[in-house]
């Protein structure tokens, strides 16, 4: 059973460009969350998708947008890249089971460098 997968592994972009990161959730999971982890920091919540809708959002500007597809995979898009967007972007998947199991399983991340 494959866990959470992310692509690409590494990415280098120039300021002002746009980037798309991709995530495939763990089998059986229907919810995808995205996090940004700057160097030496804990991950910061960007947003969460469930049933193809953005269900919750953290304190990130509108330059950050996402999408969830019918197969539950997800994309994170960042427009007008800034140097400060350089970070490890983590995708996490989980399954809504009422009050039950909801721990998030994380992918290995995409390392984005903006120059």
């Amino acid at each position: 059973d494959a866990g959470v997968t992310q692509s690409p592994t590494h990415l280098i972009k120039t300021r002002g460009q746009q980037v798309t990161l991709r995530c495939s959730p763990k089998s059986g999971h229907d919810t995808v969350s995205w996090y940004q982890q700057a160097l030496g920091q804990g991950p910061q919540f960007i947003f969460q998708y469930y049933e193809e809708e953005e269900r919750q959002r953290g304190n990130f500007p509108d330059r950050f947008s996402g999408h969830q597809f019918p197969n539950y995979s997800s994309e994170l898009n960042v427009n007008a890249l800034l140097l400060g967007d350089s970070a490890l972007y983590l995708c996490a998947s989980s399954q809504v089971l009422g009050q039950g199991s909801y721990e998030q399983y994380f992918g290995p991340g995409t390392r984005l460098t903006v120059t």
Binding site: S33, Y35, P43, F45, Q48, G58, V96, Y102, P108, G109
Partner: protein, 114 residues
């Protein structure tokens, strides 16, 4: 508002000695609490979770944590450190039900000395 504070940014222990990583939380609701470990160039791995059942939670690799509501703490312990335990550890708080965003602490880097 929810928040989590990891009291030590770095902890060093000798191999075979106990490990204590401290975490305090703040939450207006009944929280769920987690500990994750992140090895270099690896994703985050769940060590254990507290979801309002038993206050003493046992996790993988010999780690355990105790939820103390009166102290708003969820400290991570292990009786005997192993070299492979060297990594970054994150304490996480979230709402008590459903699938909601995680609030991460700033992390504690554990160093294990031979």
């Amino acid at each position: 508002a929810q928040s989590v504070t990891q009291l030590d940014s770095h902890v060093s222990v000798s191999e075979g000695t106990p490990v204590l990583l401290r975490c305090n939380y703040s939450s207006s609701y009944s929280p769920s609490l987690f500990w994750y470990v992140q090895h270099p160039n690896k994703g985050l791995q769940l060590l254990l979770k507290y979801t309002s059942a038993a206050t003493l939670v046992k996790g993988i690799n010999g780690f355990e944590a105790e939820f103390k509501k009166s102290e708003t703490s969820f400290h991570l312990t292990k009786p005997s450190a192993h070299m492979s335990d060297a990594a970054e550890y994150f304490c996480v708080v979230t709402l008590g039900s459903g699938t909601y965003k995680y609030i991460f602490g700033t992390g504690t880097r554990l160093k294990v000395l031979a």
